[in-house]
Amino acid sequence: MRSLPIDILDRRGFLTSAAACCAVAATPSLAATPAIAKRPIPSTGEVVPIVGMGSWITMNVGDDPTLRAARLKVVQAFFDEGGGMIDSSPMYGSSEEVIGHSLAKIPNTKQLFAATKVWTLSQWMGVRQMNNSFDLWRVKRFDLMQIHNLVDWEAHLETLLEWKQEGRVRYIGVTTSHGRRHDDLAEIMKTRPIDFVQFTYNMIDREAEDVLLPLAKERGIAVIINRPFQRGGLFDEFKNKPLPNWASAIDCQSWAQFFLKFVISHPAVTCAIPATTRVDHLRENMAAGRSKLPDSDMRARMLRYIDAL
């Protein structure tokens, strides 16, 4: 069984350049460690680190100073580890505000790829909500604005296409989660000019393999994977089971890396966005993007192992 270092994962022509996957993170502390892999956004070729960060529940800590300080450390570690994409939504309570608060306190956020969502009915409410997100994140421009769970997507898409022209957002996306409205999302992918899609994919929930992942690749749409750990469910299910001894062949030190490497090694995936409240978990997750990824044979073996458990 073979596994490939990330910089030769290109055998299917997926990664466009060595630079795309091997740009070194700016942080001096990382100069000696391998850089996190990056994948190109098909619509422009711009690259993003393959492991990003989600914020559902984890960043929703309100205004409690102790909890905010703890989350600040997580965001700080994310950038120290070469992270880029942070994903949020107005649906996630105070998360956007907590992210904005953290970003304002962190010096090395140059790699930030700010991704949030619009999640409301009507175009007018959508404009208000998105304008509010600019204030909460304290940014002048969003790298990615996504239509959350396809809510009133036609209305928001109209606004977003205009805003993209004006430079207020750089990319447009649409999101969903496991098994929800996949047909509708596929239709949008086929007919509308979107740059990103986001949906659930993990070692248990693999419905996206049937249509969405191949379609994204065919249409040149970047893919963000949410719930790579099935909202933590994968840990509950497998934490007492042993990692296979061949996991070291793909540099997996933990179940988290096993699960995450499976997701990010799919050739259609641009980036996965695990969420965490813990600095040690964050570092573990980022490390998964910095070492060997499984090839297709190894991915099949990983699945067989999980199924047998």
């Binding site: 559902w56 800590v61 309100g62 409690d64 649906m91 309570g93 505000e97």
Partner: protein, 214 residues
Amino acid sequence: MDLGNLIPFSREVFLDFVAQYNALLWPAHIATLMLGVMLIYLVLRPSKRWERLPALFVATVWIGIGVGYFGLHFSSLNWAAWLSAFFFILQGALLVWVGVVRNRLGLEFDGSLSGWTGIVFLVTAIAVYPLLSLATGTGLAAIPTVGIVPGPTVLMTWGFLLMTAARPPLALTLIPFIMAFIGAAAGWLIGLPADLVLPLAAIVGLWPVLARRR
């Protein structure tokens, strides 16, 4: 529907929120607890003079929780808090209309099953529920107090509705019924098992309310 999608905060964050809210409102807890005990006193010693007072108290805490707890504070953690705020204020307004303006919610203890159940619910709201919460790991700072946070207030309201001299309009039971289930579902999802007493009270309480004479 995946209920896990509906709760955007963790147990830790929720308890921290309640602790902060408690600290903000302290020592109002003493007043609301005393008013809760006063409900028991007024049902055992009904007085024409204070007939509207229990409804006024219950209405005030529903409106207070709607505005303060849900509207001004919890809405920053959970967008759905706006809905709860609306329903708490609506219930408060209904209680004012029926109990204060129309004076239809005076208390009376008739020794019936309904009356006893009401007293049990009141005692549970004031003492048992907070102790149960403490026993299941809530921590003293986040202790749920009647009249301050929704859970014990919903319980107290069921007690109150069971102890009124005349059967209360069914419209007054609708919001406490729904809130009992929503509260318990949220509590269960984030790991607060004490909240399971809420739907239990709603089910046990609804039958005597429905069955009582007019």
